[in-house]
């Protein structure tokens, strides 16, 4: 065993009656990557916030290199070499990368700015760990992946030797996540110690040396990742066996939605190029692809928030013009957007408001411009009951729901209306294992009831598990469909890399 750099010793923290951390002890060695695994609400963020001094622990203490860390003082944590990359970034979008990295360390009363030295240090760090970013770019103009890199650089800039990352991949695309993990491994190789929080089993297995599992505020298990399995971790995390639902064979119906050579141009760039597909009632058609290849645009087009530039769309066998959101909803098309928290629901509004907002003009929810609040709340109640939304009632602010429950609400408000078509974009992204299973089960139920589901996803397992037929999207082009029973992950991987084009040529 290598030298221990960090010890968490019987740390407890309660919020009211809610014991978020219950006597948790763990250690971290030099050059080690530990994954902190647990479902939403297990207490991972709380534990790391205590470690970083954001929260005061009720009991217990933290030791860095054997020395007690004064509790509740972020400055002391930074000084001891702890760096934190938050789940929700804490950077200023209107400052440049360099300014962001420097804020907090520059002395307020120093006359000379340290910009020159800072720039050199940033550059050498970026090279050393392969974290390329333009120091003069405005942070708000960067992609999420790049912003995260800046957060990491900022921690390194403050001479962090222990780096904590809170759900770093929740906001990343698959490709960005892979790059991130390569970086993390490189950092560990160079002697940094890392803790990263996750509820995704695959990345934990692939990256961490050791896995610490939290459940309900307690540390329930600790495993070397070489000596455990996906299934065991899933069971430890949830507390019982979880099985993702399986797709049963089932007869599909008539085509309900067809695209023929549809192109979409956004800001002068062709984002979709002559794509064609045919979606039947009672089937799941998976559109797999790596992010940035047109999945988002396709979802927007079919959700009524983007117009096509050419091509034909047939809905229930008839050619249609551009549909507005209201038309789309009225035509029986359910929509699950890929960005839950920004598009799918408005966090500051109540659950009932989010349940009915897209249907508020329907006579059952409003008359003469007046909202029928009773009917709307009743509708929300039905969704909450039928779709097992937990964590609040119709009057709760939606932001307080966990990701999984928010997604159940969004799915519920669509499926409660028995839509003929469901456009589901990344429906399980960022959800924990239990929630993923619930969302998948709902989608398969809808398929069984005859709904045509277009599943737009970059998760291979998800698409293989749910879809009857699969098309890959690469650079705005759509491959011909293949039957899901005839392909494996490897073949799909090739399709996502654009392999079908050569065959066609």
């Amino acid at each position: 065993m290598t030298e221990t750099v960090l010890e968490i010793d019987r740390v407890s923290k309660s919020f009211g009656d809610n014991k978020a951390n219950d006597a948790i002890s763990m250690t971290l060695g030099k050059g080690e990557i530990v994954a902190l695994l647990g479902e939403n609400g297990a207490g991972k963020t709380t534990l790391m916030s205590i470690l970083f001094g954001h929260y005061m622990p009720d009991e217990g203490c933290i030791r860095v290199h054997g020395v007690d860390l004064p509790p509740g003082k972020p400055r002391a944590a930074i000084h001891a070499g702890i760096g934190m990359v938050h789940q929700h970034f804490s950077l200023a979008p209107n400052l440049t990368v360099l300014e962001n990295v420097m804020t907090g360390t520059e002395k307020l009363w120093s006359f000379r700015s340290e910009t020159g030295r800072a720039r050199a240090k940033l550059k050498s760090l970026a090279e050393r760990f392969g974290l390329a970013v333009d120091p003069d770019a405005r942070l708000g103009d960067l992609s999420i992946g790049e912003q995260q890199r800046v957060e990491i650089l900022k921690a390194l800039y403050n001479d962090a030797r222990i780096l904590i990352l809170d759900e770093p991949t929740a906001v990343l695309t698959n490709l960005e996540a892979e790059t991130l993990f390569a970086t993390l491994k490189e950092m560990a190789r160079q002697g940094l110690s890392l803790i990263f929080i996750s509820h995704k089993l695959d990345e934990v297995m692939a990256t961490a040396d050791r896995v610490v599992v939290l459940r309900g505020g307690k540390l329930v298990a600790e495993r070397r990742s070489a000596e455990t399995s996906r299934d065991e971790l899933a069971e430890l995390m949830v507390g019982h066996r979880v099985a993702r639902p399986v797709r049963e064979a089932h007869q599909r119906g008539e085509p309900v939605l067809e695209a023929a050579a549809v192109s979409v141009r956004v800001d002068g760039v062709d984002r979709l190029k002559e794509i064609s597909f045919r979606l039947h009632a009672g089937e799941v058609l998976g559109i797999i692809g790596v992010s940035g290849n047109g999945q988002t645009v396709l979802a927007r087009l079919l959700s009524g928030t983007l117009a096509r530039s050419s091509g034909d769309i047939l809905l229930y066998g008839e050619a249609i013009g551009d549909l507005s959101v209201a038309d789309t909803v009225a035509a029986g098309i359910g929509r699950v957007p890929e960005d839950r928290t920004h598009e799918g629901a408005i966090g500051e509004m109540a659950v009932w408001e989010n349940a009915v907002l897209e249907r508020i003009d329907e006579p059952r929810f409003s008359r003469h411009g007046l909202v029928d609040r009773k009917a709307a709340v009743a509708f929300a109640d039905t969704i909450i009951r039928d779709f097992d939304v937990r964590g609040g009632g119709p009057l709760t602010r939606t932001r307080l729901l966990s990701g999984g429950n928010m997604q159940k609400l969004i799915l519920g408000r669509n499926l409660a209306e028995r839509p003929r078509i469901l456009i589901a974009a990344q429906p399980a992204r960022g959800l924990d294992e239990g929630a993923v299973a619930a969302v998948h089960a709902r989608i398969l139920d809808a398929r069984k009831a005859g709904t045509a589901v277009l599943l737009i996803s970059e998760d291979l397992d998800e698409v293989i598990g749910l879809a009857d037929r699969i098309q890959a999207i690469v650079g705005g082009r759509l491959s011909p469909p293949v039957s899901a029973d005839e392909v494996d992950a490897r073949a799909l991987g090739l399709m996502m890399a654009g392999a079908w084009k050569k065959e066609a040529a």
């Binding site: 509740g72 009524g304 920004h342």
Partner: protein, 349 residues
């Protein structure tokens, strides 16, 4: 340490924090009053007497609250939809001058039941136009309306001074820059006999209730809140963003323009460049004090007017410098804002 929104606000807290804020403001200004050599406790008493001690002072306080209620509503309505209307002052003046122009030039001696509604609408429309310009710039070119609406204040005030020194100048005003007056029949009737309190107070009160109803019960209220809270979320749900924000801007600009119209038609009868002691800007403070709640605006405007009128009375009664009164007012607004904040948020360790 960080701040966290309270999910439930205990009633005791809602009542207690503003009282604490007033106590803190009085204690702080007490230091200045004592330094000026006046008896502190009597000064406090004089504030109350100054604001409500006689029929005259009470009606004066309510008269003062009227434009604050309207500009406060204007800011509250806009801010709720994240339309950052900082141009209340300009809209106020444009509403006022529009009323003076139409009232003195076009109406002649039309009967009051015709001219009063017509002039109120004129003022509101003038205010609307001044806010639609910045909003249009934002929707079309993403120009920040904080800057444009703020700068239009100066444009509006300069246009007003040009008009009252030029085409609209009252020839009987001994050379003072002052607009011609609206005819007497177009003045708002008094609410209380032999006082300055006029029907504008009633109009503002009614509008506060109407807006509260519209925000909490109507489809438009729901959509405009959605548009303000999350443009992406609103668009995904099919809310027409531009149309919704334009309507919000019409309501907000209209209210501020109406404030100017009512101040002319209720109190002065004509326009000068000191018609408003910053009503447009104070409206923003009033809206913040009220937590952007329309009924809260009524209370916040009353509080602000009370402090204005009361502190003024105190400084005159005790013969202490009037800037101490101004400081008292400012302190009370600041402590009240802090109190409102702590009623809504808690500190989490």
């Amino acid at each position: 340490m960080r701040f966290e929104r309270r999910e439930h606000r205990p009633l005791a807290l809602v009542i207690l924090t503003p009282l604490l804020a007033i106590a803190a403001a009085l204690a702080l200004s007490g230091i200045l009053i004592a330094a000026a050599g006046a008896p502190v406790l009597e000064a406090y008493w004089r504030i109350l007497v100054g604001a409500y001690g006689s029929r005259l002072s009470a009606t004066e306080t309510l008269t003062r609250a009227t434009p604050l209620m309207l500009t406060g509503l204007a800011a509250a309505v806009a801010f709720r939809a994240r339309v950052w209307n900082i141009g209340g002052e300009g809209q106020f003046y444009l509403g006022a001058i529009a009323v003076a122009a139409v009232g003195s030039q076009l109406l002649g001696n039309a009967p009051g039941y015709l001219s009063i509604p017509l002039l109120l609408i004129t003022g509101a429309v003038a205010g609307m136009i001044l806010l639609i310009i910045p909003l249009w710039l934002r929707l079309k070119f993403s120009v920040d309306e904080v800057v444009t609406s703020l700068l239009l204040n100066f444009v509006a005030v300069l246009v007003v001074s040009m008009l009252i020194d030029g085409p609209l100048k009252d020839p009987l005003a001994f050379g003072w820059p002052q607009s011609q007056a609206v005819p007497d029949v177009a003045m708002l009737p008094k609410l209380v006999f032999r006082s300055r309190l006029h029907w504008g107070f009633g109009i503002a009160l009614i509008l506060a209730f109407v807006i509260h109803f519209a925000q909490s019960r109507t489809v438009f209220g729901l959509k405009s809140r959605a548009a303000g809270l999350s443009p992406e979320g609103a668009v995904f749900a099919g809310v027409p963003l531009a149309r919704t924000l334009l309507l919000v801007a019409c309501v907000s600009g209209g209210l501020a323009g109406l404030a100017g119209a009512i101040e002319v038609m209720g109190v002065k009868g004509y326009v000068t460049t000191d018609l408003s002691p910053g009503f447009g800007y104070s409206g923003i403070v009033v809206a913040m004090l009220a937590g952007l709640h329309p009924l809260g605006v009524v209370l916040a405007a009353l509080f602000t007017a009370t402090m204005f009128v009361g502190a003024d009375g105190m400084s005159r009664a005790l013969k202490i410098p009037s800037y101490i009164a101004d400081v008292t007012v400012a302190l009370s607004l600041i402590t009240m804002l802090v109190a409102v904040f702590f009623a809504q948020y808690r500190i989490r360790r």
